[in-house]
Amino acid sequence: MKRSNITDEPAHLPIHVFLVIFTLLAIYPVLWVFTIAFSGGQSLAIADLPSDPTFLDRLRAILPWPEQVSLSNFKSVMTDQPFARWILNSAVVAAATTVLGVFLATTAGYAFSRFRFPGQRAGLMSFLVSQMFPGTLMLIPLYIIIVGWLGLGSTWIGLILVYATTSIPFCVWMLKGYFDTIPLELEESARIDGATPIQIFIKIILPLAKPAVAVTALFSFMTGWNEFILAATFMDEEVMYTAPVGLRFFVGGFSQQWGYFAAGSIIVSIPVVLLFLFLQKYLVSGLTAGAVKG
């Protein structure tokens, strides 16, 4: 396989062929979900095989197109339970997590980048190290703290606090790297012009760091949108469940309702995929600029 980005180009056609095949294989699971969702049934199988299937029969069974197209799964998912309300809960929690997460990460990242103070390296390392804590086992202590001591069970705030905190370490690390690439002279000249530190931070630094802030927002949103076990444990009222909790009703324990699960998955995935697409032009530069000092 030729790989190079200099002027004597490799042939595009083999590259396209490879990419098309690979992309199709890579998104096959997604297509499969769409097929099951639109099939109107609950079975895992795309098509029922006759007892002695031929090659064509089997091929039909793996092609991602349902035997009959129906919207009944989607209808059931939205009407049999308050799925819309659950999505709203997820949206509120994820949005607030994003705001809080961005706030916490940008302030800390800015400090780590611009200031030299005792405990700076230790602080930064401790953020990285905290990623190594196995989080699943903190369920009970977190429950005691959030629901017991702070009394924030079954509220949006309880989840928002935990999610925002979870997303801090990676975002701070990334933001610091990005802030490091912004030249100090900009701040110097602004300070000479009489701007306060806060003005400099909000009006100059943040806009320049848009890619990294976008990635921070994306990560915080994903943390808030995709979490299951804490939401299921903290929330005591059905109206307060979030979307992942609702989805688990369909495939868990003794129920295997793949049709509803697929339909619900699509509904739940759309917002985060859209956000990804919207922010994807920032993804590349936001994640790497800090490391590759341009």
Partner: protein, 648 residues
């Protein structure tokens, strides 16, 4: 160490602070010891009263007519017992009661009222505890229940036996007279605090300006002061202890006499003879063997005191070390410098504070609790006990790390022990390495291809190839599990399409590993691809131009220009990816669930199962700490090797 900063004044301040801290802690411990002694006497007196009453009840019999009378007379005779009740399980009946409201219509014997349900449940749980202890052959559950009553006094409950079976319970409300234990000697404490300071100043005059010597002398003074204070305190405590035991011995005598009177009045034989020493038991109803009616067993008491003395020493050692550190900290001037630094950088600290506070409260604090838990034997049976009672030190860690039984030999051959820590560790390492390798190679390869200049449809490819990352991973994990379904799953359908037999993917460790590897590889390549793309795009074209002019082949260009430029971006990404993959709970849990037989568990899913299926919280916490230490070691090593965090 900045020895010039050592000045007599600083040393004096440091020494006073350290003394205050250490001696203060010692005083606190000793005061707690005295309070504990007082509480012990109260508890033992109450238990003696309870057991004496139980003795009468068992001799009269729950059905006996004179039960009510005997109980009433007992309460009369005993100042310390305010009221007593006897219940029988069969028929849920109150057989005797001296509570003021239980007279006339409500007089015992009668059926128990709704408000008395907690008493009945308590009695039954004591019965269950006795039966469990018999079955287990050891003191596992407490057989006497002791609760502080809101209105003052103590409520006790104990089982009543008939032959082998527990048929009822005795419940009393005791208001034990407060046993006064001698207070601390304030003069002693004052002396221990002041004298060393004076001595220090004297020594400064003698020794002169030799900082190191002064520092060491101050440390020595601290140690001597703490040691002396400890010795004197423990001595005093011993005196008090002997007096308390004598007091209990007297109580036994009095109670026995009272009981003998009641037995005579009720016309019951005094045989078998009363054994008052058997009334002095712990909450598991094991005789303490410390006192009898007439004497105190000094040796037995000494054994118990030795245990308490040891725990005093164990606690004072870290405290003294901390005091020494405090002395050094202040004495060497570090305290002053810290204060100045804090104030100088207050803007920075102000910016960092919100994130730090959130992290400390919601991440570091729960994890510290987890670390504490890992030194205990916490499990579902002892969650109500304070951590110090179930402390087992490093035993959990020893158990985890010394379990070398990787291969079990049975009659028919050798079988891998999948629950073994080293198997799980090995599997986790293999899992991490292969996943990161797959993710990096696939991601980098795709990035290189996509970076071809002028490639049409590039945005479309990029968008589609990010999808595996964008979709929530618990959704995709379940989807992949469905695709590997042995009957209806797509993978097997494809295999069968080409004439093969579908595999039972989750029935053998290797194929199960393939399932989770595919899932996680699929999930992780987009991240690597994006990082690589970003790094590739920032490599200036002129470098390649120059290399081409120099006649370098494409492969040489790749090795000398591309790879080194990618390193600063890829290395942190690899570190993060290693950490995330090592702890990737969702994929293993949802796709293979550790099947078959726990062979595809990684350390974190194993820890989860230990906590929630085996109810062993302390052991699971130790597992998590081991995971953490492994990752920490890796992070430090990786850092050193690549200087990655320097770049960041």
């Amino acid at each position: 160490m900045n020895l010039e900063a050592v000045k007599p004044r600083r040393l004096a301040i440091g020494l006073s602070l350290a003394l205050l801290f250490a001696v203060g802690f010692g005083l606190w411990l000793q005061a707690r010891g005295r309070a504990g002694l007082s509480a012990m006497v109260a508890e033992r007196s109450a238990i003696v009263s309870l057991n004496a009453l139980t003795e009468i009840v068992e001799r009269v019999g729950l059905e006996g007519d004179s039960l009510q009378g005997a109980v009433a007379r007992y309460v009369e005779l005993h100042d310390g017992v305010a009221s007593a009740r006897v219940i029988r399980f069969q028929g849920i009946r109150m057989m005797a009661s001296t509570a003021p409201e239980d007279t006339g219509e409500q007089a015992a014997p009668r059926k128990m009222a709704r408000e008395e349900k907690p008493l009945y449940d308590l009695g039954q749980s004591l019965r269950a505890a006795v039966e469990t202890n018999v079955q287990e052959g050891r003191a596992f559950k407490t057989e006497i229940d002791l609760q502080k009553l809101p209105a003052g006094g103590v409520g006790l409950a104990g089982p009543v036996a008939e032959g082998d079976k527990i048929v009822g319970a005795v419940l009393i409300e005791a208001i034990p007279s407060v046993y006064q234990v001698g207070g601390a000697s304030w003069l002693q404490a004052l002396l221990v605090l002041v004298v060393p300071i004076l001595l220090l100043f004297a020594l400064v005059k003698v020794v002169g300006d030799r900082p190191l010597v002064l520092l060491l002398l101050a440390a020595l003074l601290l140690l001597v002061a703490v040691f002396l204070h400890g010795i004197l305190g423990l001595e005093a405590l011993h005196e008090e202890r002997m007096a308390a035991e004598a007091h209990i011995s007297q109580e036994l005598t009095l109670t026995a006499r009272g009981l003998a009177t009641i037995l005579a009045q009720e016309g019951l034989t005094a045989s078998p003879p009363l054994e008052p020493a058997d009334w002095d038991v712990d909450r598991f109803r094991r005789p303490l063997g410390l006192v009898t009616e007439s004497a105190v067993d000094e040796q037995a008491v000494a054994v118990r005191e030795a245990g308490e003395g040891r725990s005093y020493i164990n606690l004072m050692i870290p405290v003294t070390v901390a005091a020494l550190v405090l002395l050094g900290f202040v004495g060497l001037g570090a305290a002053g410098r810290t204060g100045a630094a804090l104030s100088r950088h207050r803007v920075a600290y102000f910016y960092v504070m919100p994130a730090m506070v959130a992290m400390i409260l919601l991440v570091f604090f729960p994890f510290s609790y987890g670390i504490l838990l890992s030194f205990t034997n916490s499990n579902v049976y002892n969650t109500d006990q304070p951590l110090s009672d179930i402390w087992i030190g490093v035993e959990n860690f020893v158990d985890i790390l010394t379990d070398f039984e990787l291969v079990k030999t049975t009659e028919d051959g050798r079988v891998f022990n999948y629950q073994n820590f080293y198997w799980t560790l090995g599997f986790t390492i293999i899992w991490t390495v292969t996943n990161v390798a797959v993710g990096v190679s696939v991601g980098l390869f795709l990035a290189l291809i996509l970076n071809t200049k002028g490639l049409v449809l590039k945005p479309i490819y990029r968008v589609l190839l990010i999808l595996p990352w964008a979709i929530p991973n618990y959704i995709t994990a379940l989807i992949w599990q469905g695709m590997f379904h042995s009957q209806f799953g797509v993978i097997n359908q494809v295999i069968q399409m080409f004439g093969g037999e579908g595999l039972s993917w989750f029935d053998s460790p290797f194929t199960a590993f393939i399932t989770v590897l595919s899932t996680n590889g699929w999930l992780s390549f987009p991240f690597m691809m994006v990082i690589s793309l970003g790094a590739l795009q920032s490599i200036p074209n002129d470098l390649y131009e120059a290399a081409r002019v120099d006649g370098a082949t494409r492969w040489q260009q790749f090795k000398t220009i591309t790879l080194p430029s990618l390193k600063p971006a890829l290395v942190p990404a690899v570190i993060i990816s290693v950490i995330w993959t090592f702890n990737q709970f969702n994929v293993i849990y949802l796709v293979s669930g550790g099947e078959p037989g726990g062979s595809t568990e990684i350390l974190i899913t194993e820890a989860y199962k230990i906590a929630f299926e085996q109810y062993r919280y302390g052991y699971a916490a130790a597992y998590s700490v081991v995971i953490f230490i492994i990752l920490l070691t890796y992070g430090i090593w990786q850092n050193r090797v690549t200087g990655a965090s320097e770049g960041v």
